[in-house]
Amino acid sequence: MKKFLLASSMLIASAFGAEAQTINILMESVPDTRYVQEMLPEFKEKTGIDVQLEVVNYAEMHTKLVPQLVAPEGSYDVIIVDFYWVGEFTKAGWLQPLDERIQADEFPVDNYIPSIMDLTGKVDGTTLMLPFYNYAMGLTYRKDLLEDPKHQEAFKAKYGRDLKVPTEWPEYLDQVKYFSEDAGIEGFKGVVNQGQRPDPISMEWSNYLFANGGRYYDPETWQPTLATPEGIAALTQYRDSIQKYGPIGAANFSFDDAFNVAAQGKAYSYLTFNMFRPVYDDPASSQVVGKMEIAPVPGGGMNGSWGWAIPKSSPDPDAAWEFIKFIESPEIAKKRALLGGAATQKQIYEDPELIEKFSYYPQLGELLAYAQNFPVFTYTPEFVDVLGRELSLAVADGKDPKEALEQVDKDFAELLRKDGKLQ
């Protein structure tokens, strides 16, 4: 029925010689957006629908989206949603459920990696988004140094274990210490961190937390659990990473500042978003082409992803769905992945053509499978703000880790109570 309506409306539109149907999408300035852009001619050919991508910077996206979503009819037919905002957007009721459309068109939702579908797909049983791309975090490290027999020998002598891709967290911490203190490379550090408030530090520290076996909250009761021995150990290690083993200034590094240190070959490792992995191999950005590799963070890294959604204020939800269905179809998803996109569907990580092209694809698949999630609730962004502030105070301003985490727990609990999650 919907197809019919769409088709007939297109027919009418063309019959009257009116302007072609257009949908507007607000996106972020990332490579994945560029890959979407490249698919648009094909979509236009198939459906006759023009797609206008409006691109803004991440920081401004939320500011720009909110008034649009609040309005009865906004400018955007399709939006993309960061997992940060999922709680907020669903609580506010800004997104249209997609289940009916998925069923009607038999869209293969089972292709998605479950952890990502949890993050930016289903919310409380309702599918509000389809995952677009992921930005799970992994451990990027200097493969060439790791495989250097000289370092392997020296490391073994000092720490009593093999220098290899770390599978245990303490193993990694030893490597950091070794490359900062013992490797004898001038101006070289074992790690570079992104210590800036609030998202860079919060996302990076999450890896430390998970690696130490800590977690944000008790999944049964939603009781915050940061000021625990695991949390405190994680924060103490993190502070040491920045202050003892990292380059000067890391306490205020954004991921860009930190990435450039790694890309200039001045650090052994950097816990970062997997989408940075290809950039290391771009000679225009990197001095370490072919020397960096990515691996899962021991203990399971931090996950992140974006999803496609149709806002309630969408002027043309049917055309919007046509687009989402097209761009997320396995065929197009693979095409985007071939261009370098960060895929969210399982089969892509098993696709021989892709593994052939990107040697690190198996690791990426593994990383996604084990990735852990951030607390997702209505006030996630504000929680990150609080967390970032306290972590930064502990790292840069001498606040006691335990005190800092107690403060986070307190504020976190308050936000959870406000959201009705915690009694």
């Binding site: 691109v55 803004v56 401004e60 450039n260 000679p283």
Partner: protein, 269 residues
Amino acid sequence: MRWLRRAAPHLVLIPFSLAVVLPLLWLLRVSLTDRRTAYQIPPEWSTPHLGNYVEIFTAYPFATWFWNSLSVALLSTAVALPLATMLAFAFARYNSGGAPLRLSILASQMLPPIVMVLPLFAVFLGAGLLNSRTAVVIAHVGMNLPFLAWMMIAFFEGEVRQLEEAARVEGATRFQAFWKVAVPVAAPGLLAAALLAFIMSWNEFLFALILTGKRTATLPVGLSTLDTHRGVEIALLAAANMVAILPVFLMMPFLRRYLIKGLSLGALK
């Protein structure tokens, strides 16, 4: 002693200019290289290439951003300038509305713009002006008007007053005294204020972000997209910035005349 007097201003201006120009020169260098080289320490001199300049125009709608910004800044200044001049004159000469009106007009600009954004969005949504340059122009007029008016008050005080009196007894109406005497005499101040208004509009980000769409995005909105989730496109940004500061060069002839005019006026009064 005379040479010292002549050299003294340069002793202040040269260090200041260097503090401005050296970073810009380094930025120019960044714009002619790539991200890898830009961050390389110690710096390595590679052959400059213009790829970034080509890319901002081909891979990004830089020309559109530039044109949008230029038209918004020019138009909003052109609208705000006469309105503000009249406001300032009424304040300075006739004390219209008294200190309360003056202060409340200025006070309107003390709210962080972020809290103005939602109601403003609603206004333009209702008026059907969303995603248009008109909306940004109107918002920028509202933003610049109070400042312009305040800046100009000072330029209508002092000796201009007596010149207007002279005009009045010579047979000028109130408006003629304003238009034929006060405005030309206060011109250096008014032009300086206009210049600043242009710049404020040129750089204004938040209203432009909320009110424009894809085709009407201004430079600040466009440039901010170069700060991406996959890192800052620093070389492109540098190239874009180099082009974005071009209007200063375009203003050169105008500035030169204004400076000379400003001087000769000062000499008399």
